[in-house]
């Protein structure tokens, strides 16, 4: 743990546009306080670049509280960096040591093409949700919220799956770039709740079909996804989804 301000050697992936050739560029980050977050450290690098009239390093971020899922970054080979259960925006510089070299890359996956520098296109995740990650209920006419008690245990299990922030670290961590943890989280959340039952058979089928279309790989049980997940989504969601998927394959005769 460091308490003094640090100087760090950064190797940052720079790429001007999708499909263009990218490369690592070296920057020195000076006077970095251990209390800074990783993104605040990049802010400092960008302020220096602005002074030199150079393009800042583009990276995605918004809430900086670990909840919106917008920040990404593979840091020294690990999605969201070295700390377990932590997004890049919640990673603090006290985790690093003066003089460290830090490699910073975008998510790497065919389904997440680079847009610029460290920014990738994750719209494939939205397409998967559009394929079935919802309960078909229009506004109005819902019954009283307490009409249907839900066992606390089920509600808690649904909640644990629902905490997925859709950042894509699971895909970035997986050697096959599979999105099974992301898809499983949504399928499992709705499968645990009575509201999700009516569409349960098609949901897994439709979402997995869409996942394949988007170019994500298959799950071959590496378990890197759950290790990289900043919300520690449990692996069980993949098993639960597979059960639903198999059942619906059988019943739909596909």
């Amino acid at each position: 743990m460091t308490t003094q301000n640090m100087t760090l050697n950064l190797k940052v992936w720079r790429q001007d546009a999708p499909g263009k050739k990218g490369k690592f560029v070296s920057y020195i980050a000076k006077d970095i306080s251990p209390d800074m977050s990783f993104l605040e450290m990049l802010d400092i690098v960008n302020a220096d670049l602005a002074g030199q009239k150079e393009m800042p390093v583009a990276f995605d971020h918004d809430c900086r509280e670990g909840i919106c899922g917008m920040c990404s970054l593979v840091i020294n080979g690990k999605p969201h960096g070295p700390d377990e259960g932590t997004t890049t925006c919640q990673l603090h510089m006290r985790r690093f040591t003066n003089g460290d070299t830090i490699w910073i890359e975008p998510w790497r996956a065919e389904a997440f093409p680079v847009v610029r520098d460290l920014v990738v296109d994750r719209s494939a995740f939205d397409s998967i949700i559009q394929a079935g990650g919802f309960v078909s209920v229009n506004t109005g006419g819902a019954p009283d919220a307490n009409a249907l008690p839900i066992a606390k245990e089920d509600a808690d299990m649904a909640f644990d799956a629902a905490t997925c922030i859709g950042c894509g670290a699971c895909v970035a961590a997986c050697p096959n770039a599979s999105a099974m943890l992301f898809v499983g989280a949504k399928v499992s959340q709705l499968a645990k709740l009575p509201q999700g039952q009516a569409e349960r058979p098609e949901r897994a089928l439709n979402m997995i079909t869409q996942m394949d279309k988007e170019g994500f790989g298959a799950c071959t049980n590496h378990y890197e996804c759950t290790a990289a997940c900043p919300k520690s989504i449990p692996l069980r969601v993949i098993g639960e989804m597979n059960q639903d998927y198999t059942k619906s394959l059988i019943f739909s005769g596909r």
């Binding site: 009239k53 583009a58 919106c68 939205d126 949700i129 919802f134 229009n138 509600a155 629902a162």
Partner: protein, 639 residues
């Protein structure tokens, strides 16, 4: 453009007004709805719920957000909960009580009719969210759990651990996704609205910039809805997401929409204190923590002992002392000011002296660490990560921070601005919270507007509009697009050497000092001058490299900061003109002997709606008088 502000309030006893109104407004024939196109700027709770619901009704919707997915709107970060008058706890809650608490909490500066409607539809929101699969907290019997929140003496807040906003937004996002899949909503992500297009006095479209390619596009529609969130980031440091901005609302203001009560800002009492100059944002520690945490400072000034070494007898639990009946649960404005006072007088704790303790020691002794962890685990973890201190072992240090803006674009009862065809919902409008918002009421308002109000009221406007009557062939679109190009070029051609962030930070300091938790005549006048000169310097020396035809984060940011630099000045004008204290607006000249906000109902019982008068001209103000027929204005007391 109409300068009169007709709030279109319905008649009759307050319980019947919304029903009467819905009966009296015009409807669009179901078969015709698909002919109308509505643009919605924003995909937060307000925008996503409105887009999904209007699409379900049959309208064609085009929805815009600047993030890479609608699921990432700032609403996702809301922690503590959402209010609803369900009275599930049987503790005496009712629609009327929620209405009463909200009007009083807003320090008698909101519209009774809007607030009553909000309280009325609050219950439907919870039903709707549960039907979507939102996993609210439940008790062992499987029923929904509630907690209490500041400013209320009943438990009416529904929550999903400390991630209520996330779960509600994912619910609205799922409804939105369903419509996107059906082709009824056309979603434009990473797209920023840069202007409203006004044709013959009606809002009929927008100009947008694709943040990935830089492409400028003209979009026409039959009506435009802004759901673009609040402008707390004018202070640079706030609990808002980094991208939250005033641009959409401010562009509408420049095109003639009135900005109401821009100076009403909420400073939240429980945030993690600033740790250094590098800081880019402040982190909220949910107000729900005040249910179990006790706030105190040492009785001795400048006491540097560890909190655990300070005995009970030498601690001042100042909220419990000053407000025995509400204690730690006083409303936010009151709690924030009390913390500031304690620190101003030298009792503050931590390295900077700008902090007070929020202590869970007693609660942990009483309930055990597990119970506290079940309630607040994720907040404790977040605090630990940021400060490197373990709140299970040592009290949290907290300090007030900018959190929410009650001010926003002026709207009538139909949520329509004074610019016909332009509707404003969620935090972007001004309507329901008066001068101070109660905890857990923003989520309620965003979803009330989006699910249950706007989808009906917009029909009243559309019923009189010929669908598709305006297209982008109208010269107003070309002109607005040219204005947008010119503005981007102006930013790019400054060619200075300071980042827009640098100016943003400076603006934030000016705003905090002159228009922050305490304001006064001299400070505000100085603030206006400082902002004007900072703005001048910005346009001479900001660095915006690259071009407008590519992904350019510096350019996008500079455009937002440029608008903040004008909006900040408007806020100061508003604060200067309002020579009274009310809610979050505390003018030092106007306080009671006990240091509480002192309203002046004789002269200021009105909404201040500001109109743009042109570049570098002082804006002008119109008043909408507020009537209180049910909750009689009184000096708020939480003693």
């Amino acid at each position: 453009m109409a300068r009169e502000l007709n709030s279109n309030l319905p008649e009759g006893p307050i319980e019947q007004r919304w029903d009467n109104h819905r009966f009296n407004i015009k409807l669009v024939n179901p078969a015709n709805k698909r002919k109308y196109k509505v643009i919605v700027v924003g995909s937060g709770l307000a925008g996503a719920s409105a887009s999904a619901t209007m699409a379900e009704l049959g309208y064609q919707v085009d929805c815009f957000c600047f993030q890479d997915s609608p699921r990432r709107a700032h609403s996702i970060a809301a922690q503590g909960g959402i209010n609803a008058a369900k009275n599930y706890q049987n503790d005496g809650d009712s629609v009327y009580r929620l209405f009463y608490d909200t009007v009083k909490g807003g320090d008698f500066r909101s519209r009774e009719d809007n607030v009553y409607r909000l309280a009325q539809v609050s219950s439907n929101i919870i039903d709707q969210c549960v039907a979507q699969g939102v996993p609210f907290a439940r008790d062992y019997g499987g029923h929904l759990a509630n907690r209490s929140f500041g400013g209320a003496q009943v438990s009416r807040t529904f929550y999903a651990r400390g991630q209520t906003g996330q779960q509600l937004l994912l619910g609205a996002y799922s409804a939105l996704s369903r419509q996107i899949a059906k082709g009824t909503v056309n979603m434009h992500t990473r797209t920023e609205m840069l202007d409203v297009v006004v044709v013959d006095g009606h809002a009929k479209g927008i100009i947008s910039r694709n943040l990935t390619t830089g492409e400028i596009t003209q979009h026409s529609a039959d009506a435009v809805v802004l759901a673009s969130g609040g402008y707390g980031n004018v202070f640079f440091l706030s609990t808002n997401a980094m991208g939250s901005n005033v641009t959409a609302a401010f562009r509408a203001y420049k095109r003639g929409a009135a900005m109401a009560n821009p100076c009403y800002t909420q400073i939240h009492p429980t945030c993690i204190p600033v740790s250094g100059d590098h800081q880019s944002k402040l982190t909220l520690m949910s107000e729900s923590l005040r249910n179990d945490g006790r706030i105190w400072v040492p009785k001795k000034k400048g006491d540097t002992r560890k909190p655990s070494d300070i005995p009970e007898s030498e601690r001042d639990y100042y909220l419990e002392r000053r407000y025995p009946s509400f204690g730690n649960l006083v409303p936010r404005d009151v709690a924030s000011r009390a913390a500031k006072l304690a620190c101003d007088e030298g009792f503050g704790v931590g390295k900077t002296g700008l902090g007070v303790y929020l202590d869970f020691g007693h609660a942990i002794n009483r309930l055990g660490e597990d119970a506290i962890s079940a309630r607040y685990g994720n907040l404790f973890d977040m605090y630990h990560k940021i400060t490197d201190e373990n709140p299970y072992k040592t009290p949290m240090r907290i300090f007030p921070a900018v959190h929410y803006t009650m001010g926003g674009l002026w709207v009538d009862y139909n949520l329509q601005s004074n610019l016909p065809g332009l509707f404003v919902i969620g935090e972007a409008n001004f309507s329901d919270h008066g001068a101070n918002r109660l905890g857990a009421s923003a989520l309620m308002q965003g979803l009330a507007d989006g699910y249950f109000v706007l989808p009906y009221t917009i029909g009243h406007y559309l019923a009189d509009a010929q669908p598709g009557s305006v297209t982008t062939d109208d010269s107003a679109f070309r002109n607005a697009a040219q204005d947008t190009d010119a503005r981007l070029d102006a930013l790019l051609s400054v060619d200075g050497n300071k980042s827009a962030d640098w100016y943003h930070r400076e603006l934030g300091k000016i705003m905090w000092d002159s228009c922050g938790m305490a304001r006064n005549n001299t400070g505000l006048k100085q603030g206006i001058e400082s902002i004007q000169s900072l703005r001048k310097e910005f346009w001479q020396n900001v660095s915006v490299p690259g071009s407008a035809k590519e992904m350019n984060v510096a350019l996008a940011n500079a455009g937002r900061v440029a608008d903040f630099l004008e909006h900040g000045e408007l806020m100061c004008h508003d604060a200067l003109t309002r020579a009274e204290s009310c809610g979050g607006h505390f003018r030092e000249e106007y306080q009671t002997d006990e240091g509480e906000a002192k309203r002046n109902d004789e002269d200021y019982c009105h909404v201040s709606a500001w109109f743009y008068e042109g570049e570098n001209k002082t804006p002008t103000m119109e008043k909408e008088d507020l009537k209180f027929e049910y909750v009689k204005p009184s000096q708020r007391s939480y003693k």
